[in-house]
Amino acid sequence: MFLGKVIGTVWATRKDENLVGAKFLIVRHLDLELNEKDNFVVAVDSVGAGEGEVVLVATGSSSRQTHFTQNKPVDAVIMAIVDKLDVPLKELLEQQES
């Protein structure tokens, strides 16, 4: 999964009929300091995420493993809303990069 922030919503009336009832949220990737990165996805929401919330997104065929997205043309699903992060080994990343 990747760490992301919900930054917006997409409404689409004309869409694949399997997607009727889906809530599409725009999720921007975040780095470990929760800074927004450039890349983003449009993901189907399965946990009631709201704008500004930090979430986890599963992509690929795994995203079809929910009751709603099963057998539907979906490749990204928001499956968790993050309460807290703890990355004690962040320095490990910085040392290796510098």
Binding site: M1, F2, L3, L32, S46, V47, G48, L56, A58, T59, G60, S61, S62, S63, R64, Q65, T66, H67, T69, Q70, V77, M79, A80, I81, V82, D83, K84, L85, D86, V87, P88, L89, K90, L92, L93, Q96, E97
Partner: protein, 87 residues
């Protein structure tokens, strides 16, 4: 399968119902020389891995197989803790 190092934890009480009892960890993918390769990801822990440990994980829809549920939106799960690597 990929090698990785556990660098932290993620707590999420509001998550998809079949994921209720699983711990999710931050993993930095590494190569056999212990160098970082690519961006950190989040994976479900199925073997009790802790921060700092070297692990290996599987991705894509196979990631749900080690979990005791038939369906879960998970695209990475830790399936082993590495004792040693010799190349």
């Amino acid at each position: 399968m990929f090698l990785g190092k556990v660098i932290g934890n993620v707590w999420a009480t509001r998550k998809y119902e079949t994921l209720k009892s699983f711990k999710m960890l931050f993993v930095q993918p590494i190569n056999a020389q212990n160098e970082n390769v690519g961006e950190p990801i989040i994976a479900v822990d199925t073997v009790g891995a802790g921060t700092g440990e070297t692990i290996f994980y599987i991705t894509a829809s196979e990631a749900v197989i080690p979990l005791p549920v038939d369906m879960a939106p998970v695209d990475a799960s830790i399936v082993g803790i590495v004792d040693s690597i010799n190349t």
